[in-house]
């Protein structure tokens, strides 16, 4: 058996591997910001749902990433499912859950089991009120990130998320050399606003412009708007 996973399986496996890797890069700015939260607030990136839903009876057996991302458990997870194309996810109650990157939304309070999930599909739910900061353009390595930031808003509640950027290599962040862009979503006024603070002035891997996508529950399509320069602050009303 060759030592390189990209030589295994068939063409459908190669497509699925690549999609998963691209998904990781897509989420890099968001994950990086969660890592900063871990450093400053000692908040784990991976949390049991009871952090966010303390009264949910399944809170200790449901996994979340950050406070708004709920990936399903897969068979390879060793957690619960019997085969590799079956997923199980407990959706906490009193909340609306969107399928990632879509307007398809369901109310929580039940356990979803799906069989025969296509090989390249990842079952991931996003909480209403979530703001995700994603790398829009596909890149091949983390030195090439930056440029256009894709901001996802999953409407239904007010939301906030702070994107944190730094030079990515040195320990200067320990003395505050970071840049924070705080995003706020006001659901009642359908407005996404942001303001930038911090000593770090940016480098080749920083985000300079922004594309915002707002997902409203079960709308026919998401709403998209772009801003050429993130600058020191701004807002978009949808």
């Amino acid at each position: 058996m060759p030592r390189f996973p990209y030589l295994w399986g068939g063409p459908e496996h190669q497509v699925a591997f690549r999609k998963a890797l691209n998904m990781r890069y897509h989420f890099l700015p968001h994950i990086y910001s969660l890592a900063h939260q871990a450093h400053t607030a000692l908040r784990p990136l991976a949390i049991p749902a009871f952090y966010e839903f303390p009264d949910d009876p399944l809170g200790d057996s449901t996994y979340m990433f950050g406070s708004t991302i709920l990936p399903a458990a897969l068979a390879a997870d060793g957690f619960r499912t019997p085969d590799e194309n079956t997923t199980v996810v407990n959706l906490p109650a009193n909340e609306t859950w969107f399928a990632f990157n879509s307007t398809r939304a369901v109310s929580g309070g039940w356990t979803e089991t799906r069989h025969d999930v296509p090989l390249d599909e990842m079952v991931v739910y996003i909480r209403a009120g979530a703001i995700l900061c994603l790398q829009r353009d596909v890149v091949q390595y983390s030195d090439a990130i930056g440029g256009v930031l894709e901001v996802h808003v999953y409407a239904g509640h007010d939301g906030r998320f702070t994107l944190v950027e730094d030079d990515g290599a040195t320990t200067k962040y320990l003395s505050g050399d970071t840049r924070s862009t705080e995003f706020l979503w006001s659901d009642a006024s359908s407005k996404l606003s942001w303001s930038v603070t911090g000593a770090f002035s940016g480098d080749a891997n920083s985000y300079t412009s922004l594309q915002a996508i707002v997902f409203r529950a079960n709308a026919t399509a998401p709403a998209v708007a772009s801003v050429r320069s993130i600058g020191k602050g701004g807002s978009i009303t949808f």
Binding site: P5, A46, D77
Partner: protein, 94 residues
């Protein structure tokens, strides 16, 4: 943990101002101060549950290694690891 302490001290001497990163097989409470991350086992037995319990003990950066020799299960392990603190491929088969 002394190993991690040593590694970090040497790194700081040799490359001051640069970030340090290492992946360890074993976990001692407190090693997260020395940029020590860990993986949850050589076998196929990683789970969300394991990563979560380690998170709650203070070790936030764990990796559910993507180790399966089966292509379909490996795809699912890749997908699983997208939303874990560390995404890493690893295998012991010869």
């Amino acid at each position: 943990m002394w190993w991690n302490q040593l590694q970090e001290a040497q790194w700081r001497q040799a490359l001051p101002g640069q970030r340090h990163f290492t992946i360890n097989r074993a976990f001692q409470p407190g090693m997260q101060r020395y940029a020590g991350t860990s993986w949850t086992g050589d076998g196929q037995d990683c789970s969300h549950k394991k990563t979560l319990s380690w998170s709650l003990y203070g070790q936030l950066y764990t990796s559910c290694d993507m180790t399966s020799p089966d292509a379909t299960i490996l795809v699912r392990q890749y997908q699983n690891a997208v939303f874990l603190p560390i995404m890493r491929v690893h295998q012991m088969h010869g």
